[in-house]
């Protein structure tokens, strides 16, 4: 099938999409946007988190066809040009990135949290990121990064 979707503000079209394909697969393999990650492909790890019409979703659990005529924003679309979004900047500065495989999903989840809540408390940050697994950092520096990004808003 053919899927028409707006991705990071750009109208995109994917052809020959198999009906069983996920939005994640379409983004990564058909639209050249592998930033969203494929760590579990079963909705447990959050590494594939993208905005679908401004709501964060696990793109591995969304069928590609469900994105028809909708707006998707991926980690690649958070910042303009060479600049970084404040959340991205804070992740690098705080040392919240090791292997980085969880990072795109966490960056999108944290970006969403800070859009909703100006100065989140620690329990609020933990709750917002509870659907994102990280195996390298023990999460401490991820919390530091979100606090840092919040303080700069």
């Amino acid at each position: 099938m053919r899927v028409n979707v707006t991705v990071n503000g750009e109208q995109r079209q994917a052809d020959d999409v198999w009906e069983g394909e996920s939005l994640l697969y379409m983004l990564r393999e058909r639209l050249g946007l592998p930033g969203s990650k494929n760590a579990c492909e079963q909705g447990e790890c959050g590494s594939c988190t993208v905005y679908l019409d401004d709501v964060p979703v696990c793109s591995c659990l969304v069928a590609a066809g469900q994105a028809q005529d909708r707006e998707v924003r991926t980690v690649e679309g958070l910042a303009e040009g060479e600049s970084l979004d404040p959340v991205q900047e804070a992740f690098v500065e705080a040392g919240a990135v090791q292997c980085g495989f969880c990072t795109p999903g966490l960056v999108v989840a944290a970006h969403d949290l800070l859009n909703r809540v100006d100065n989140p408390s620690d329990p609020e940050i933990r709750e917002a990121l509870a659907g994102n697994l990280c195996r390298c950092t023990g999460y401490e520096k991820i919390l530091d990064a979100v606090r840092l990004a919040a303080s700069r808003k």
């Binding site: 690649e76 950092t137 520096k141």
Partner: protein, 728 residues
């Protein structure tokens, strides 16, 4: 090809002892860093693997006819298509690339499909018909050595035997225990993946996520029947490793499909396949007997340790040596008797995982130290300090610990950390969290301590070295450097450390890290907490060679100074096969933890409230990265303490998913107070001590000790499950 590995330079500079930003950080937060699963090539096909559903079976026939009929399928390959040696392995070549007439574990690869879409490949895999004669699996590690032999030499992979001091020593207080450690998974987030490109010279170029490019290449070339120079490996982005990428997974498979079809071939495991696609941490059964005098001083330690290596040897021999030689822990004991056995079974193959044998022993000896404290009515910290190793102490192997061993100091540091406030009536801080399972009723708090020891670098006489090339030239009127190695960056931050070393040694600001590949000499494995030590040492030595040619110049015109150096740490010795004596290890690392837990005794739920750690790192080349290793290593120890286990039944894995195999989330991981000591090791570059593994060892027993303190239960097995706490 899109997304080839990038050269890395940094926006923020800094030498050793500072914490500059990672040179790959911006790419990673922007989603632009090229991981192995992100690679794409025009006209590429997808590989998929048929795996055994049985832990132990004879293969009577394989029929690929129906699979080949599916449109879009380019190839279906079996053992008959393995061009070279159909056996590989890190220490023993005992594992087939594709099974021939027998399968020895559930998930063992039998056949490969190459197709135009991953779904086509998966469907073709299901059309391959394999006729099995199912056999009774060997699954008990304690009796495996005397059970049906699974390999020609029988089921005993290695027995390490340590005898030191008086074997008949007697003591006033005798403590015995039997302990079990479940099978932990590395659970790196980036699944096994790679892209193989057939080359015009008949060879292959493989872009791969691994921990050791050169050993992958040697094994892959042998299996492909190609000379090593025709098998070229480049490291792609690696989504974590933790030991799980030391062994081959899809390396040979992707190359076989690429060479057979003439097409670029990509393979990416999904999470379920990843659980079958790499080795795990050895489950263990450990019997201990500690004898002490009435002051708590150890008189003797006896241990019998079984490690389940599963179906193939992987690195079991080295894991056995670690569990044995580190089996007493960071304590002085003059009289030691240890027998440690690694065995074959039909359980999933086990090999390297962060902590590598020291984790299993650590849970047992620390549990014993707590029992000893209880028997003598001493505090857990006091009994440990009473026996704490110091510089100059002797290991069970007779090896003298010849640099800092601040065991007592680390314990005191964590003991002196502020305690968390008492539990508050906020669901988010309760065991069970917002599941609303308790408002504090039935909740008890406990505090536990542990300390651990880990060998750093490769041991037992292994020729452990790394190769580094540093090149200096003028760019835009400025001296700039380039550093090239084959040492794998898996997330730990080696790329940053190498830049820092070059900046410090050569006084240049701009340092570019080239992609890691096999066009340069061996970098050794990213394991045993060794890369900063060994590859760091090699980069430092290459800088010294460059410096010698540079002299005092700050402008070298058109000259290019280009030096490649192979660097080794000091030699080690094999263990004496009779007594287990010998200077087998290069360096020892130590960490201590204090855990505070709240336990809901009615439901058996545990909330780790605080987890504090003190570790000696010799010299923190990058303090931020050091703390990151301690936090991440402690989290993996927490996972083993209370949630992580690959559960098997009759050799079959029951929970190969992140739905059923749980790793800590941000809700599980408590705040940490961390002290980093910098007591330089005079034998190591900059005095550094490997950092990655020690925090994984003491975290687990500290948490279990805290749960015991809270509940009064004996708790001899990890992970501790709710039913262990409720007796239901």
């Amino acid at each position: 090809m899109t997304l080839t590995p990038a050269e890395l330079t940094s926006a923020v500079s800094g030498g050793i002892g500072t914490s500059p930003q990672r040179p790959d950080g911006n790419l990673k937060v922007r989603g632009e860093f090229a991981y192995a699963s992100d690679l794409w090539h025009e006209d590429m096909i997808w590989g998929a693997t048929l795996r055994s559903p049985h832990p132990y079976a004879r293969i009577k026939s394989i029929d690929i006819t129906e699979a080949l009929k599916i449109p879009g399928v380019y190839a279906v390959l079996t053992h008959e298509d393995v061009p070279g040696r159909n056996l590989y392995g890190l220490e023993h070549k005992d594992q087939p690339v594709l099974a021939v007439d027998i399968v020895r574990y559930q998930g063992e690869p039998i056949a490969l499909v190459g197709a135009d879409h991953p779904e086509t490949a998966n469907r073709a895999v299901k059309r391959i018909k394999v006729e099995f004669e199912v056999l009774t699996p060997v699954t008990d590690m304690e009796t495996a050595a005397d059970d049906t032999p699974l390999h020609p030499g029988g089921n005993l992979v290695r027995h390490v035997h340590i005898r030191r001091g008086d074997q008949n020593a007697e003591a006033e207080v005798v403590i015995t225990g039997r302990y079990e450690v479940g099978m932990q998974d590395q659970a790196f987030l980036g699944p096994e993946s790679g892209l193989a490109l057939p080359a015009e010279d008949g060879g292959v170029d493989l872009y791969i996520a691994t921990q050791w490019l050169h050993v992958d290449r040697a094994q892959t070339a042998a299996a492909l029947g190609l000379p090593e120079e025709k098998v070229r490996l480049t490291l792609s982005g690696v989504g974590g490793a933790f030991g799980g990428r030391e062994d081959l997974s899809m390396q040979v498979h992707a190359c076989m499909l690429a060479l057979h079809t003439g097409k670029p071939t990509k393979m990416v495991y999904n999470r379920e396949e990843s659980f079958y696609g790499h080795v795990h941490r050895h489950p263990a059964v450990l019997y201990y007997e500690h004898g002490a005098d009435h002051t708590g001083k150890l008189v003797y330690v006896k241990a019998r340790i079984y490690l389940d290596g599963g179906a193939y040897a992987s690195s079991t021999p080295a894991v056995v040596a670690n569990a044995a030689t580190l089996g007493v822990g960071p304590y002085e004991a003059d009289n030691v008797t240890i027998d440690c056995y690694g065995v074959y079974t039909n359980n999933p193959p086990c090999g390297a995982m962060r902590g590598f044998g020291a984790v299993q022993a650590g849970f047992a000896y620390e549990s014993q130290m707590d029992k000893l404290a209880e028997a003598l009515n001493m505090s857990p910290v006091d009994v440990r300090i009473r026996n704490a190793m110091t510089e100059g102490s002797l290991m069970p192997t007779g090896q003298k610990v010849d640099s800092a061993a601040p065991v007592a100091q680390l314990l005191k540091l964590v003991q002196d950390k502020p305690m968390p406030p008492p539990a508050v009536n906020d669901l988010r801080h309760m065991p069970g969290g917002v599941s609303n399972t308790t408002h504090g009723e039935g909740v008890v708090r406990g505090v536990g301590y542990a300390v651990g020891i880990k060998n750093i670098c490769f041991s037992e006489g292994y020729d452990d070295y790394s190769t580094a090339r540093v090149r200096l030239q003028m760019v835009g009127g400025e001296l700039t450097a380039m550093v090239h190695t084959a040492a794998c960056e898996v997330g730990q931050g080696l790329v940053t450390i190498m830049q820092q070393i070059v900046r410090t040694e050569l006084g240049v600001e701009r340092v570019t890290v080239l992609p890691m590949d096999t066009s340069i000499g061996n970098g050794g494995s990213t394991s045993a907490s060794r890369q900063t030590y060994v590859t760091g040492g090699a980069v430092k030595a290459a800088c010294a060679a460059v410096r010698a040619k540079l002299g005092d110049r700050t402008d070298i015109g058109d000259e290019v100074i280009d030096e490649t150096v192979e660097w080794r740490h000091r030699a080690t010795e094999p263990l004496d096969p009779e007594t287990g004596q010998g200077n087998a290890h290069v360096q020892y690392g130590f960490a201590a933890h204090r855990a505070v837990v709240d336990v809901d005794t009615e439901l058996g739920l545990v909330k780790v409230v605080q987890l504090d750690c003190a570790q000696d790192v010799g010299k923190a080349l990058n303090p931020q990265a050091v703390v990151g290793q301690i936090q991440g290593g402690s989290a993996q120890g927490l996972g083993l303490a209370v949630m992580e286990e690959i559960q098997t039944a009759d050799g079959k894995v029951r929970n190969p998913s992140f739905t059923d195999y749980l790793i800590p989330t941000v809700l599980d991981m408590p705040p940490m107070n961390i002290d980093v000591l910098e007591l330089a090791d005079p034998h190591a570059p900059y005095g550094i001590r490997g950092v990655g593994e020690p925090p994984t060892i003491s975290s687990t027993p500290a948490i279990v000790a805290a749960i015991r303190a809270a509940t009064g239960l004996a708790l001899t097995r990890v992970p501790v499950r709710p039913e262990h706490l409720t007796n239901t």
